[in-house]
Structure formats: C-alpha cells, structure tokens
Symmetry: C2
C-alpha cells in the first residue's frame, strides 16, 4: 500500500497542539508525546513495508523546480502543529527514493538492514557523543570490542593495533595519510612542511577513489604530488608502473612516502595486487594504505577473501566501510592501524580542558584526543547490534550470496549477447555492461558502437527514474564512454530481481 499522507491522524487533543505547548517535557503528561512519536513510527514502519514491496515504485521523480512546488519546505516564524509534523514526515518519505528497494542497484550502499536501522533509532534516542567513556560508557566499550574483532579479521598481527570510526571513507583515508606523515616526519605536526627538505609525494592508481587525491590538496602537497599510477584492463594498479614512478620521483629529489592501494575500486570493483605493492613499499620505505572501503566486507568470507585481499595484513592501515557491503546504515566507516598509539600522537592537541587527565575512571578508554573531529557521532551501535544479529557466519553467508548473485547476473548477460555487452569479468559485485537497443544489435562491436551505446545511458537512466521501476548507475571512465555499473549489495535482491532488471532495461530501452 502506497503511503497516503492523510492516514496518520493524531487525536484532536494532541494533533492541534504545537511543540512549544508541550515543552518542557513533563512525565505526567507524556501521553501526548508518546502518541506523537508512535504516529511517526507508524509512518516509518509503513515506509519499511513499502520499501520491500516490489509492487511499489522506487521513486516518484520530479525535477527540483516541480518538487519545490509540490512541497511546503519553508521554516516558519511560528511552529506548525504536531499533526502537521506527522504529515511532513509522511510527505518527505512519499517523495524520497527507496534506497532499500530490491530494484535499487544504484549505489555502493543499497538495502535497508532492519536491525541496523533499529540500532540507529536507539543511537538517536541515546543522543550522546563518542569522545569519552564518561558520557558513552557502553558505546565506547562496544567500539573497542568490534574494532578489535575487525582488526583480528584483517590479520593476527593487527590485534594490538588501533582503530577509529570516521564519518565516511574519505575521512578514514585522510586519517591514514595523517598517521603516515606523522610516523615518518614526527616534527611535521609542530613545524609543518617547511621542516622537510624535499617534496613529499604519494601514489595511488588512476582508478582509486578521489578522496585519496583530495588528501594531497587538503594536507598541502598539492594534487600534482599525488601520482596516479596506471591500471591494467581489469582496473588493477600495475606494480611495475608504480615502481617506475617512485624511482622517477626519487631521481627528482622528491620523497615518496605513501601508497594507497584500492581493494574494490568504485567503478570496476577491481582489487590492486597488495602483495606485489607491499614488496615495493618495503623496498622504498613507504607507508602502505589499503583503501578497502568497498571491498573490505569480503574479509568476512573464507571462500572469497583470497586472492582478492591477499597480503592485506602487510599494510600499515586499512579503510573498511561496514555501510557498504555489510549493509550497516549510513554512515559507518572504520580505519585500522597496525601500530597502536599513532592516532593519539598524531592528532592529539592536548586539550586538557576537554579531556581531563584526573578522572575517576581509567582514561585510556577516552577517544576524543585521537580524532580530528572532537565531537563524534555514535556510529558503532548500529554495527554492533547488526553483528550480534548476524554473527560472523551470517555476514559470511551474505558476502557469498552477493557474489553468487553477481555470477548469476554475469551469466544472464552472457546468455543474451544481442542485448547486453559485458565489459569485463567482475572481481566484486560491480557489473559493468552496455545495454544494446534493437537498432544497434547487428552492428559489430567497435569504438563507434561504444560511443552510440554511451550516449544512450543517460536517456535510459532518465526513463528508469521517470518510470520509477529501476535504478542502475552509469558513468564514463578513462577507457570508455558512459556504461552501466550495476551494484548488488542489498540482502533484498533475488535472482528474480536480476531477471527483472535486465528485462526492464530492454522494455524501457529497446527503441533507443
């Protein structure tokens, strides 16, 4: 049943009140508040149901200008009624994209894990800050338990390392960069770049996430000193190219110090060869960071972890985002270090006025001094609760299932070579392909056909969104014009949804 925003009626006594009428909260008159909050929950539970209902659309698309006319978004001078607030919630969800819908294949984060969602509801209600044990005792301990477990999964020699949750993989990668610079140039923190004789240089593949390059801009190297190493046809960094470029920069008097490899690239889902690159890092004394924001989830699968992530335990730092393959709610990103103490010595500003040293409990549990954030959202509870619900084993089954579904999709594409063109054999759940409309089916594949196929991607995507039945992403890369990238990272997807996806693309696009 599609959400009808008029379904959610508060009693007249409650509905006509304004928020300021019931503030400050009084326990003895909590009935109105509870009625209001329960009504919001009814809206949310119906949305959860609709999200999982294949008869419901994924979205009801409107252009920004139209949407602004449909909605009343103004923040008023006087507050609206409680009834209006419930109505606002229902309307918001009516026009929101259902990212948990089984036919939403558009982002690296798809799906709506209901236990993680319940965890996030609790997180909101507890409304605390992750900087001290003092005000987040249980959550701080949970963070310890889960981060230690994740490091154990990375490698046995990582147990005594250190980790932190960050607001997204880009900031996690920034933490790795900062720790590497601090480890190699401890004076840098106080003296700055002027203390270093020579230009610092970092390396990453031309397929890496742009946040790696962004570190060079933010931290003062300049993006010209983030060297983009060529990748092979599969999108994997070419180790010999890395070594060549390192040597070239050294010959110019530069100081290569940081290599970020990618375990699961954004577009192609490629895994850089960690072991070969680790050898080069050892040889030239460079920090090895593995950005496994996307592919890290596969560490949980005995069957599928190797060879993709072989050698990950040789890294100095690893980014791993549970909000991607593992389906934790947004945001949940982790950064792990093999060496303990670095996060603290790198980021600590000795703000004793906030992080007092004379507390009644053991302050080694406080995390505020380790981060560049000060206040930090509680991103651990949703992950902890989800891990309790699924267990290692449940996550392992989930990973294996996602790759099984990917294989299924690849097979279905191969079965229909007239309608679909598979660009490469995927290593992860990214399936890169073109859809071929009727008029191009008899044309031999060539660069000029690729151009034609690329031009169609935005048009077909627009039709998907306007119909509301399907969402798949597209993008160009250095080698090709636009192509589709389908992501299978939601527990809701079945083989039937994949068949639907391919049939629906054909239904919407055959005449293009």
């Amino acid at each position: 049943m599609a959400q009808n925003t008029s379904n959610y009626k508060l009693s007249a006594a409650a509905g006509n009140l304004r928020y300021n009428d019931i503030l400050p909260y009084k326990v003895e008159s909590g009935g109105v508040t509870r009625e209001f909050l329960q009504k919001v929950i009814d809206v949310l539970l119906d949305f959860v149901n609709d999200t999982n209902d294949r008869n419901e659309k994924i979205l009801d698309f409107h252009h920004p200008e139209e949407m602004q006319k449909l909605l009343d978004l103004q923040v008023p001078n006087e507050g609206v009624s409680l009834q209006q607030l419930v109505h606002d919630c229902a309307t918001t969800l009516k026009y929101q994209v259902k990212t948990g819908h089984p036919r939403f294949f558009n982002q690296l984060s798809c799906g709506l894990d209901l236990v993680s969602m319940a965890g996030e509801w609790l997180t909101a209600t507890a409304n605390t800050n992750m900087f001290t044990y003092e005000i987040a005792p249980v959550f701080i301990l949970m963070e310890n338990v889960v981060m230690t477990h994740m490091r154990e999964i990375i490698g046995k020699n990582w147990v005594n390392g250190d980790s932190i949750l960050a607001p997204g993989g880009s900031i996690s990668n920034l933490y790795a960069f900062l720790a590497a610079r601090h480890k190699m140039f401890p004076n840098y923190k106080e003296k700055g770049i002027a203390t270093i004789q020579g230009q610092l240089v970092m390396f990453t593949s031309d397929q890496s996430h742009y946040s790696v390059k962004s570190c060079a801009s933010v931290c003062g190297l300049g993006t010209d000193n983030c060297v983009m190493v060529a990748s092979d046809e599969q999108g994997r960094m070419i180790p010999s190219e890395l070594e060549r470029l390192v040597v070239e920069r050294k010959n110019r008097g530069h100081i290569p110090f940081f290599v970020a490899v990618t375990a699961g690239t954004t577009v192609l889902g490629a895994f850089d060869p960690i072991n070969e690159i680790a050898d080069i890092c050892e040889k030239y004394g460079m920090w090895l960071h593995v950005d496994a924001a996307w592919g890290g989830g596969l560490l949980l699968s005995k069957k599928n972890r190797n060879p993709r992530l072989l050698g990950v335990e040789r890294a100095d730092s690893v980014t791993w985002n549970p909000h991607k393959l593992m389906g934790a709610l947004l945001q949940c990103s982790t950064i792990h270090f093999k060496e303990d103490g670095l996060l603290m010595s790198c980021n600590q500003m000795s703000a004793d006025y906030l992080f007092m040293q004379d507390k009644l409990y053991d302050i080694k549990y406080d995390t505020g001094d380790k981060v560049i954030q000060c206040g930090r959202h509680n991103d651990i509870f949703k992950l902890w609760l989800q891990w309790r619900a699924k267990g290692d084993h449940g996550f392992e089954e989930h990973m294996d299932r996602l790759l099984e579904l990917t294989d299924f999709m690849v097979k279905r594409i191969r079965d229909q070579p007239d309608k679909f063109y598979l660009i490469l054999e995927p290593e992860l759940v990214n399936v890169s392909f073109w859809y071929i409309p009727t008029r191009l089916r008899r044309m031999p594949h060539s660069p000029s056909r690729e151009q034609e196929l690329g031009k169609m991607c935005p048009i077909l995507k627009a039709r998907m969104m306007q119909t509301g039945t399907l969402m798949v992403g597209y993008q160009p890369d250095d080698r090709r014009p636009n192509f589709f990238r389908n992501i299978i990272s939601s527990a809701a997807v079945t083989e039937k949804d994949i068949d639907f996806l391919l049939n629906e693309m054909d239904r919407l696009g055959h005449d293009l």
Copy 2:
C-alpha cells in the same frame, strides 16, 4: 519506572527467530519484523520517559572493567535471537548516561529534543546519502532552504553565499581554513605549499577550540604557525595583541592569512570582539572566520544577539552548530560562506565517474563535489523538522529562556557566597565557579585556596557520578586550577533543577 530489561517480551514465535531466518524481508511475513521493531520502539519510548523523570538517576556508574563483566558485548559467530536483540537494546540504555536528563549539565550538547529525535528516526529509515539530488531529492531541497535561512540570519549580504553541513564543528572549521587558503592562493590546490614564498600563519585566541590549531597540523602549516593570541580576563581575544602579533610575523617575512575568532568559547563562553578584529583583518588582508559553533544559536534572539555577535556579517565564514544551543540531535554542524562557489572550486576533484554532468535534472543541486567527505550523512532532516516545530519564534524563546536560567543561577550563587565562588560574569550559558566545602569557608579567597578548591573538583565529580543524581563538568584553564563549568543548554531545565544542582553539590561535597 526504571527500565527492567525483562519487560520487553516478543511472542514466542517471533522471539525465538534469528535475523537470518527472516531475511530477505518478505512483505507477506512482515508481521514478525513489525513486532520486533515495535518492541525496540517500546524500549526507546520508556527510555525517553525515564530521561525526563527527575526520580530516575542520570547514570548507573561502573568502571570500565566492571562494566565489561556486567554486559555481554561479544560479537558471536552465530547470530542471537530477536528476543536477545531487544534485550540488548534495553541493557544498553540501562547503562547509558541520560544526556537529556534535566540534571545533566555536563556538555555543550545537553537535552533530548523529541522532534529532532523523531527526525533522526526518519533519517535512519530513509538511509540515504546527501551527495546527489538523484538519491536524496527532498533532503537536498531542505538543506537549501534551511541553509539559506541561516545565512539570512547571519546577515542580509549573506543570502547569495554558500553553506554545507559537516560532521561536527571541527570539520566545519577545517572547511573555513581550506576555503580561505584556496581563495588567497588558488594554485595551492594543485601545486601545494611549495608554491608559496613564505610561511603561512594563522591566528586564534588562547581560548579557542583546539580544532582551529588542528587545522595547522592537518594542513601542513604546523601548529607553531597557529599563533595563539592572548585573551582578557573574560576570555575575549585582545585585538591589540592580535595586531602586534600579525605585524611581528610580517616582519619575519611570514604571510598572515587567516584569523579565527570565537563566538562562545568552550570553557568560559566568551565572545571575541568581532568588529574590532574585522578591522584588523581588513587592514592586513586576512580572512575572518567566526567559530560560532557554540554561541551561534544566539543569532536567533533579537534581544541577546547583540552586542555578543555584533559584526558577524563582516566575516568571510561562520561555523554554527545547531546541535549545541539549538538542541538538534548530534551531529548537526553548519559552515557558511559569504561568497558562493568557493566550496566547489576548493574541494572539487572532478570525479565525473561519481558526479555525472549529463543527468536528467539540473545538477546544480548536487553537493558531492563541494565536500571532502564524498558520502555525507543526512544531518538536515532532524533540524528542518525541529525548525518546522518551533519556528524562528520558538527558537528565540528557547535562547532567551536559557540566558534567563543562567542569570538565575548566577544570582543563586551570589546569594550563597560562603558555598560558591563565581569566577566571572558569564556572557553565555557557561557558569564558571568553585564549590566551597565547609572547612574552606572561612579562609579568605587566594591562590592557595584556589588550589585547594581545584583539587576537590575531581572528587566531587566522582561523587556525582557514583550517586548518579547530577553531572557538571570541570576543567583547569591557563589562569586557574580545576573549576566547575555548568552548562544550561537543555529545554528540560527549570529553576528548581538549578536549585537542586547547588543543593546537591553541597550535600555531596560539604565534608571534602
């Protein structure tokens, strides 16, 4: 009623199931899921009630080692039952600190705004990412509306500027630093610090938040080049000192480029004199950033905005955290710029593979290219819904009420000079004071009495936490040993709570 974790019973049919038994979600068997989620909500609604019940303790303190024994925090190999998950939620909240309790005066963010909380529940359920209109259409438009409104409140000449929500004030301040550097040195992004002839220098007061200094470390200046300007007895930056230090650095061939003033310091709640500092910034061509993370809420009060924030419209950038004085849930931080386009040109990495230029809608609404985060949590809905509920007027009343309560507390402290020593007349809701136990009441106030009073703060704080009836923060500063800093930022606080606070400190501490 204190939460009894055994109160929340699922039906046997649902409670014995494990999460993996009900995956993938089936609409036709949604009953079990709904029962589970509703039971979690019952736990949360009881917690909300307890939070607002003055007969309930704020916390049930245990040392980390004890807490680890009390709780089962392990993430298992096989998932636990749905019933156990509900139990886990109840147990977590049983040992969590109630930051919304009317006697929690411990942080800059106190209180539990129920509408903002409902908004955060919806945010979790919608589970989307703020980088494109494509997947967050309504939320992106809300962000536009609220950010424009906030800029209007800063100043009429700010309407055509630009803003973004960031994960906390520290990252907001970092955005200001990056934009300033980019505006003044556009080559820096590509070429790095090597392109600049001379040492960049930034200035802030010795009372500013440590995240300002952290920018110097993260971005390559080194903390030695973040010059700490002396403040007066009230904690306000001394403009003549700023000018002296700017000139001194210029004489050394350095390049002063960035001044961060604070509107509401963390400890004393002081407001730097913006207008006088703006004159100096104009004179020497420096960027003026106002860190109003804490004091920004007062912009909503016609009565209390000036003189504290007089001149704010002359700044180039302003940090303002609605999760502090305005009571929005954690996290909700905003950074505003007078000039449009800077965020984009500074932070854009031209990742066309993520932020395509050939979409069916007007891509000026996409925000992904403006930020250093890539994925970005939806922090706007909770604020938008709260603003709908309270209106400008409701927020104004809230600000005026907080300052009225602060005046009340100051008066009560002055009325009891034997028991309390007021350190300074507050400009904001931070009340800085010492509690005086019986044995020190007849001693004249002196540096040696201050030392004695300072030693007692951790002991009295420990008693508060162990009793669970009260939480007030303490810290030292450059001029004094430990003293208490009481924060009134919660809508739940009344005059009676302030009387309770002072009486309870005396009850717990008189024998020290």
